[in-house]
Symmetry: C2
Subunit: 239 residues, 2 copies
DNA sequence: CCAAAAGTGTTGTGATTACACCCATGT
DNA sequence: ACATGGGTGTAATCACAACACTTTTGG
């Protein structure tokens, strides 16, 4: 018969994998630690779980401290618990991934760390098993976004269909047919056409759309078969 | 700046949601506690995480203790961490779900608890938030099995296609067309036809199949579109 | 020889792809 | 006027559901 007195001290932490989207790239927010231990090393934002909060609360708190943002899309990813994963203490960390509109993000004042957005495929070396966390988060984002319309969380309120298409193309490193992509998005019923156009990236200009929030919130499984089959990919990007 | 000294004692546990399949039903293995606290109450099997093991190791250990089985299909489900979830101690529990061949299961000798298989939709009241864990596990099993061929883990080495079909029908509470089901399974390339037949449930008899293990292990995404759309369901069962 | 379940063949439908074409506009 | 990217139309193809049909064998 097991009893908790068997258990030596284990610390509980959370780490956040924060994704954003800007300049036609998906980005990851990491910090450079300004304090010991591991001063100068790159790391995900994280923190210890307090006695009276859940890991969800802890992750929200950490995220808010770093970005100033509340009510962000966040989801539990996985709990990492290898005895040697944290080289200083025995720590079990529950990882969360978050999607934010990068334009809403405002760096909070802090001397503790220096936050930087890295393109998702050019991240620096990270401490502990944080690289594993990022890889798993990327995989989960891809898997989930192929069935659920959650990439909207990365875009501003108003966006164009070519912008949306580019976002999907980044995530899957593939090209989609503009016609078919547009039809599929429209058929989801999630888009509300605006009267104005975005006129920077093309001469004709692309209409802005907003998300139909009622539909988005009620029907989180609308986008079926967007990227399910390999044949949907026209060709691997090689650039 | 946060430091681990802020953290009061939090215990780390694991709980296992163990699924089996027998008598044309999906079952859940739960225990009745033979010791205080909560003597006589139903609960998932669980245990505390030891200092030198991961939560995965802890879950495997707990599972082996209860069932005598090694190398079982197991997957991390979710970490439950609400401060009030365990009414005795502040405990964070990482839940794992496992799929076992119920015929291989042998009850291990133990006076500590009385394990019982319950049909998945007739489970007793469980302590703490274990009911939540079971519900999430059921949802995850359904979601995952619609894309990945993991239900084979619930069947014996040799099985027939009607058996497999019945398993899917149980999980989704739906009926599938035998012709289409059979074709889809064959087209996955995962089935190896045997020479003998199962002759209890029908006069004609149904051929046994074995799993193509090489393919199964290399290609964990073979079964696409088995249950993706609601239209695939002929009719809700009402029995 | 018939009932019952396994297993195969076939057809219509709807989704999807690939690609041609039209549109709006800044230079 | 023409190049450029946004946006629409459409034919061919493919996957799938539905269901009729054949097979096997115990009673």
């Amino acid at each position: 018969m097991k009893h908790y007195l068997d258990q030596k001290r284990i610390l509980n932490a959370v780490d956040c994998i924060i994704f954003g989207y800007a300049e036609d790239e998906i980005k990851l927010l990491v910090i450079q630690r300004g304090f010991e231990p591991f001063k100068g090393k790159w790391s995900l934002v994280g923190g210890f779980v307090k006695e009276n909060e859940s890991t969800e609360d802890a992750a929200s708190r950490v995220l808010k401290n770093l970005t100033g943002l509340d009510g962000v899309y966040m989801e539990q990813l996985h709990t990492f618990s290898e005895p040697g994963r944290d080289t200083l203490e025995r720590t079990i960390s529950t990882a969360y991934f978050a999607l934010i509109d990068i334009k809403k993000y405002k760096q909070q004042l802090s001397d503790d760390y220096n936050p930087v957005w890295f393109p998702i495929n050019q991240t620096p070396n990270l401490i502990f098993d944080h690289h594993k966390m990022v890889e798993l988060a990327k995989k989960k984002l891809r898997d989930k976004a192929s069935l659920h319309p959650l990439l909207f969380e990365l875009l501003p309120n108003k966006f164009t269909i070519p912008q949306l298409k580019n976002l999907y193309e980044c995530l899957y490193d593939a090209e989609f047919d503009k016609g078919n992509f547009s039809r599929k998005m429209h058929s989801s019923g999630l888009l509300v056409k605006q009267k104005d156009k975005e006129r920077h990236t093309s001469k004709k200009g692309a209409f802005y759309y907003k998300l139909n929030l009622r539909k988005y919130n009620s029907n989180l499984h609308a986008i079926l078969n967007l990227v399910s089959k390999p044949d949907n990919l026209k060709s691997r990007k090689t650039k």
